[in-house]
Amino acid sequence: MSTKTPTEADILRPLKNTSKRYFMLFGAAAIAFGIFLVGWIYQLAVGMSVTGLSDWGSGGGVTWGLYIGAFIWWVGIAHGGIILSAAVRLLGMDRYMPVARLAEMLTLAGLSAAGFYIIVHMGRPDRMVTSVLGHYHITVNNSPLVWDVTVITAYFVLTATYLALTLRYDITRLRDDLPDMFEPVYKLLTLGYSEKEDEVIERMVWWVALAIIIMAPLLLHGGVIPWLFALLPTYPGWFGAIQGPQFLTIALTSAISGVIVVSYAFRRAYDWDHIITDDIFRGLLLWLGFFCLLFLWLQLQQLTSGSFSATVDHQAATASKLSHPAYIVPITMVFGVLMYIFATTLRPSLFSKARAIAAGVLVLIATLVEKTYFVVAGLWYPAFSIYDATPGDYFPSLIEMSSVLGTIGMVVLFFLVIAKVVPVVELHAVEHLRGDHGHGHEEAHESETEPEVKA
């Protein structure tokens, strides 16, 4: 029923209006983050023994657990986000232009959360700079962990550049309506801007997008992150060539889910149903279905090759998957989401935004649990499994669990703050929607204007 035309005023709304609900959400996110910070300080004071982690082997524990699982999860969300945004630009998927910048921002927020996890996970975070950078020229030759840090940093820089370049156009044009208190930020971002550069910037952004699209599968979630595990032959649950594609598909499912959730939150908060249209959610849901299918397909490959005639250690690792709730439940959740999405293609009336959100949230939970199980179960079922204590047990401590809430709070805070500084929807998107009415935004929209962000 909406025939509203997207305007500059629409995308400026978050910068101009701040409601009571905004502060409530800000407070809630800050408390979530704060609770974890307190837990982390306690961990720094006492030691890593406050976690549920332990030594594997005679110690019968897992030395990597939820921290690493959540690290992979955030990196996955981050990488998928930027892939989505880059695909919009490269493949001309204009339909998703209104959520492209949100996806880019999700990448920066996700990478920040992941980087934070690296520090939280370490026994001596104070040595990060001296020990890692000091020996970088040697360790970069062989340590997958150093490759990780390198590529994550590269990705952060790439994404930040990408975002900064595209913001120049918007900020220059919307400058008069932007809050004065951030004047220095805008000045910096638009340093030396002239209209002549628009075309150049567009080309540059295209190349950066190309780099991202090429790097992501080769280096990021199809590369160095899975290589942390896939290169270790003594862990049958980890070792092997399939982890690259497997990680990438999981990253994309969680990232699309993340974009669905964040986009919906902004749409609901700022009355953007004519900008982030139902059509976008339908499309994102289909993509989610496609990547869920790939996710499950690759899991099936592993289950089959791990049980048919596998080595003793590999069979034990696979048997655990087939019996452990931390594997069965998330896989069932993803399967359920896939079935629902499949059903919506047969009967479009089954689609609703609430269900799309639910699918996204389910996938986000499933991928976090699956990734944590992947890390933990790998250590539970090593090739050398002679120790009585192996496989041991692991249940994350309250501090570890609060880290998930804390980093979600951190990411929400990131969005709440950045939405007050720069437009989270591209001006290009609004111009595009105005000039091209190829896409429908005819469905009913909620009229609430309260700024509620679901994370």
Binding site: G39, V46, G47, M48, S49, V50, T51, G52, L53, S54, D55, W56, G57, S58, G59, G60, G61, T63, H121, M122, G123, R124, P125, R127, M128, S131, V132, G134, H135, I138, T139, N141, N142, S143, P144, L145, V146, L228, L232, P233, T234, Y235, T311, V312, D313, L379, P382, A383, F384, S385, I386, Y387, D388, A389, T390, G392, F395, S397, L398, I399
Partner: protein, 568 residues
């Protein structure tokens, strides 16, 4: 691998033919080339040493080419030393596999062998570099590689008493449950209820210190170089001042030997020597400077590094093979010894330089029956022996009556058997008898062998002819003399008989293995005994950890700190 068994070359007859054609096209002797190629293959297989290869063809190569740049044995060894000392060492710090040294050596290999030999090397499984390394090792005979500390552990002698675990824990003042040395017994498919082993220990034991791998996966993944191999002696150590506690080394190690310092260590740094000194198995003097037991020397660094004893909070630790002993900072007598080795009652742990074929671990692995015998016997004191023989006749019977050789070990049933074993030790000792590694202190065997020689000397001085066939036959070390046969003055005792005697006493090892060798870690521990199969599972061992104030499963200790809010 080969298409044709008759071809020396792994790629088969066809490739061999191609090689031959290539050589025919040159002005040089094809037959010589092919012969050299065949022998080059033997070098890669370790059947022929590189030096022997060079010697064999030196003259031919001189005739054919007028020049032989390939080093002869002396030149080769000198080149190895030189490379090790300078460029090779510097570069090996980067990639750890001495690639450049081998390249240098390859250059020195010269024309003929390089042209033909490279083909051979390139065709084997791991590519030219890897195979050249194999050939390199074979050529050295082990002696020229410098020191590589390692162990031979006789699992058939291990009775699971946990003395080694305890000694290590005390020496290094480890936290409860941090078992750098770990001993376990396992049930396996073919032996579900392991019992006593005839060699004196239990069946299906596994003694698991760090394997100090030559290609350590933990070192490879370390993002900081904290986990490193010490150039001078091959020990894999952790620089406690550099480690960031990411625990990737613990993840990458297939053996599970790493123990993270999850919280403040139980023992203060300053208290390490004093606490350790209270334990009889530890060697540390109470008033020692803590740095003497924690900081270790590096030939290639100006400063000592903190790599030994319990780790500080937040960093990784594991068995170090006592580098502060090896440095001599706790006294010369501790060089070549570890706390666990010294504490092992049956002498099942043999520590030493595994690159030296005269070291204890190598000699023990080469002939475990003999090694066990040396470890087991309580050899009589020569002076007491002289006293016992005072006034006795010099025939065998009188000597056996006078001396209680049976007392040397509970399993010896007669004095004749006891004396036979002593003689058998000498007969099987060969030229190495009493000759240990360069620093004699390193070797227990040298001491034991010297003790044996001293006893035999006393007996011979007394007048007993230990070379006579008649005496040796009485001791089961020779065939009895035929009635009409005269005693041969140059009679040589039969080494097989001697070996048999040792085997009858100490048992024959069933097998030896290196743990998880298939993962390419190149561990420096050789085990004697049954290798755990893929389904092996730890069972309750002969001695319980808690009965000797140790903790088997550290998680029980760590769980005390885990924040659960009392909910789980």
């Amino acid at each position: 691998m080969s298409a044709d068994d008759e071809s020396f070359h792994p790629l088969g007859k066809e490739w061999e033919g191609e090689l031959e054609e290539m050589l025919d096209d040159t002005e040089y002797d094809t037959d010589l080339g092919m012969e050299m190629a065949q022998d080059a293959m033997r070098v890669t297989k370790g059947e022929l040493s590189e030096a022997e290869f060079h010697e064999k063809y030196h003259d031919d190569v001189m005739d054919e080419f007028g020049v032989d740049d390939r080093p002869t044995e002396e030149a080769y060894e000198a080149a190895q030393e030189e490379a090790k000392g300078t460029v090779g060492r510097m570069l090996s710090a980067f990639d750890g596999d001495g690639e450049e040294t081998r390249r240098e050596t390859m250059k020195k290999m010269g024309v003929g062998a390089a042209a033909v030999g490279l083909g051979a090397w390139g065709a084997t499984d791991d590519g030219p570099e890897a195979d050249f390394a194999a050939a390199d090792d074979a050529a050295d005979g082990g002696d020229d590689d410098g020191i590589q500390w390692g162990m031979t552990i006789d699992l058939e002698r291990c009775d699971g008493c946990l003395s080694c675990v305890d000694a290590c824990s005390e020496e290094n003042q480890l936290d409860q449950g941090v078992n750098w040395m770990y001993v376990l017994q396992f049930a396996d498919e073919d032996n579900q209820e392991p019992g006593h082993h005839p060699a004196g220990g239990f069946e299906n034991m596994l003694v698991r210190p760090c394997q100090h791998c030559t290609d350590a996966p933990c070192e490879k993944v370390c993002p900081t170089t904290a986990r490193h191999t010490r150039d001078q002696d091959g020990l894999v150590l952790t620089d406690y001042d550099v480690c960031i506690g990411c625990r990737y080394c613990q993840v990458a190690c297939p053996y599970g030997v790493n123990y993270f310092q999850w919280n403040e260590p139980d023992v203060e740094y300053e208290d390490i020597p004093e606490n350790a000194s209270e334990h009889p198995a530890a060697h540390v003097p109470a008033d020692a400077d803590p740095e003497d037991v924690t900081y270790s020397e590096y030939d290639d660094l100006d400063d000592d590094r903190w790599v030994d004893a319990r780790a500080p909070r937040g960093v990784m630790s594991k068995c170090t093979m006592c580098p502060t002993h090896q440095d001599g900072s706790q006294g010369e007598e501790h060089i070549g010894h570890t706390a666990c080795e010294d504490a092992c009652p049956p002498g099942a742990i043999q520590f030493g330089n595994v690159n030296d074929e005269l070291s204890d671990p190598q000699r023990y692995a080469e002939n475990p029956s003999r090694g066990r015998s040396l470890e087991r016997l309580a050899i009589p004191d020569p002076e007491e022996l002289e006293d016992a023989l005072e006034g006795e006749d010099d025939d065998l019977e009188s000597v056996l009556d006078a001396v209680d050789f049976q007392a040397m070990d509970g399993d010896i049933t007669t004095d004749a058997e006891g004396l036979g074993i002593l003689l058998a030790l000498e007969i099987t000792g060969g030229e190495q008898m009493g000759n240990g590694p360069e620093v004699e202190n390193h070797s227990d065997f040298v001491h034991y062998e010297q003790e044996v020689l001293d006893v035999l000397e006393v007996l011979e001085d007394h007048g007993l002819d230990l070379d006579s066939q008649e005496v040796l036959a009485e001791l089961d070390l020779a065939d009895p003399l035929e009635e009409d046969e005269d005693e041969d003055d140059d009679f040589e005792p039969d080494e097989d008989d001697a070996q048999f005697l040792l085997q009858r006493f100490a048992g024959v090892q069933t097998s030896s293995f290196k743990l998880l060798e298939e993962y390419g870690t190149n561990p420096n521990i050789t085990y004697i005994g049954s290798e755990p199969g893929p389904n092996a599972e730890q069972i309750e061992g002969p001695v319980q950890y808690d009965s000797v104030d140790l903790t088997d499963n550290r998680k029980e200790v760590l769980d005390d700190d885990t924040v659960t809010g009392g909910m789980y």
